[in-house]
Amino acid sequence: MSSDSGVRRDLATIEHEARALIERHRYSQAQFTVSRGLKEFPESVELQYLAAFIDYASGRQDSAMQGIKTLLSQAPQHYGARTLYAHLLDDAKHLAEAERVWIDLLRDYPQSADCFAGYGELMLKTLNLDKAQRLAQEGLRQSPEHPGCLYLAAMIDLIRNRRGAQSEHLQRLLREHPEQARSAIALAVALSANGNDRGALRIAQELLRHQPDSQNLVGFVRELKTRTHWTMLPLYPMRRWGWSAAIAITLLGIIGLRLGERTLPPPVFETLTWLWLGYVIYSWTWPRLLHRIL
């Protein structure tokens, strides 16, 4: 009896230690702890789940998928394994299958804000904005301060509204969960959406220092570095006013040159024509080239 309780305590201690390491993003140490635990308790479902989660968090998607499928064959109702499976399917672009898993989870756990947030993010990723918004609202009804649902709602505010930085959801996310990386990401996106790319870049770079393996962050930082590069200054109208500025510059250029053809001396007209053509070509090609260079 005493040895049985000793074994249980050991397993619980290993699980606790592994969870604590995962929370601190110390994945290599957590993996060592879990591997050691699995040698002693190979049948432990929780340790198998943690092993798959560490693979997922460390970017080893194939290994995580393999582990989670094995685990689900033994414990098909394991909540953590099912949510991780949905995320893995989502990452692997098996989106319809990921949706099926999220729906099954929501049928079994109708009050899980985590599941509403996960399914909502999938809907956002597949451009189903209305459904994503309804899922975020339902998740927030279940758990008003849930960080995943607040992040989802804040992103939808930003997408729908140019003045997204004033979003109530974003403010709540920053107030209630200032320590979360998602809060910082949402803030950076909001700053960028309001034209403050330099502020957004500082936040994104700081986040990248803490999560150097995040491909999404790498892409975001590259995009912001491109936008804030000094060679992009001549393209300020396009950055500030978007496609409206592109249309205005194109049409004003064509009309202006047509008028200039009749009224200006030929050398001046030719110079202006080449300048305008150069500017148009620069605006279409340079940002893409710069994005590849940086």
């Binding site: 098996h94 989106l95 319809a96 929501l106 990723k125 597949t126 451009l127 339902e138 975001f220 496609w243």
Partner: protein
């Protein structure tokens, strides 16, 4: 209960990643500039199909047809003489570009939230080259055909 049940109905069906992004605003702009409203409508309607909102956006096709036929009809029914007399030569091309870019502005306004969604989430659009070139060539062919018929 009903609204919540509707949330648990599949939206993606059996489709996977192919329909999770739309042709970029860049593609729409270039195609509308070079091919006019008809070409712009091709991109807009393909995007509407990918967004499963063709039922809402189909009038864009009618509008593009009207924006092409109307000016052409007017041009060959005395409009050309009026324009040459009042504004000068070469205005037909300018009007074609204005109509194309105006149509793009309308489509962009309608689909703006989807473009922003893709930008904020870093979603890569499909390559616009094959469809874009086909739309421009097809639209120019239709324009020449209509011009031949109406003249």
């Amino acid at each position: 209960m009903q609204p919540r049940d509707s949330l648990l109905q599949p939206t993606l069906g059996h489709r996977d990643s192919t329909a999770t992004s739309i042709y970029s605003a860049r593609t729409g702009y270039l195609v509308s500039f070079f091919g006019g409203p008809l070409a712009g409508a091709v991109i807009a309607l393909v995007n509407a199909h990918r967004l499963r909102r063709l039922g809402t956006d189909w009038p864009l096709g009618v509008l593009a047809l009207a924006a092409t036929l109307g000016p052409l009809w007017w041009w060959f029914r005395g409009g050309a003489q009026w324009v040459i007399a009042h504004v000068g030569n070469g205005m037909q091309q300018l009007a074609f570009r204005v109509l194309g870019l105006g149509f793009f502005a309308l489509v962009y306004g309608l689909h703006r939230q989807y473009y922003r969604n893709m930008t904020f989430l870093g979603i890569t659009p499909p390559s616009g080259w094959p469809l874009g070139v086909a739309a421009v060539v097809g639209s120019l062919a239709v324009n020449f055909g209509l011009a031949a018929v109406l003249s």
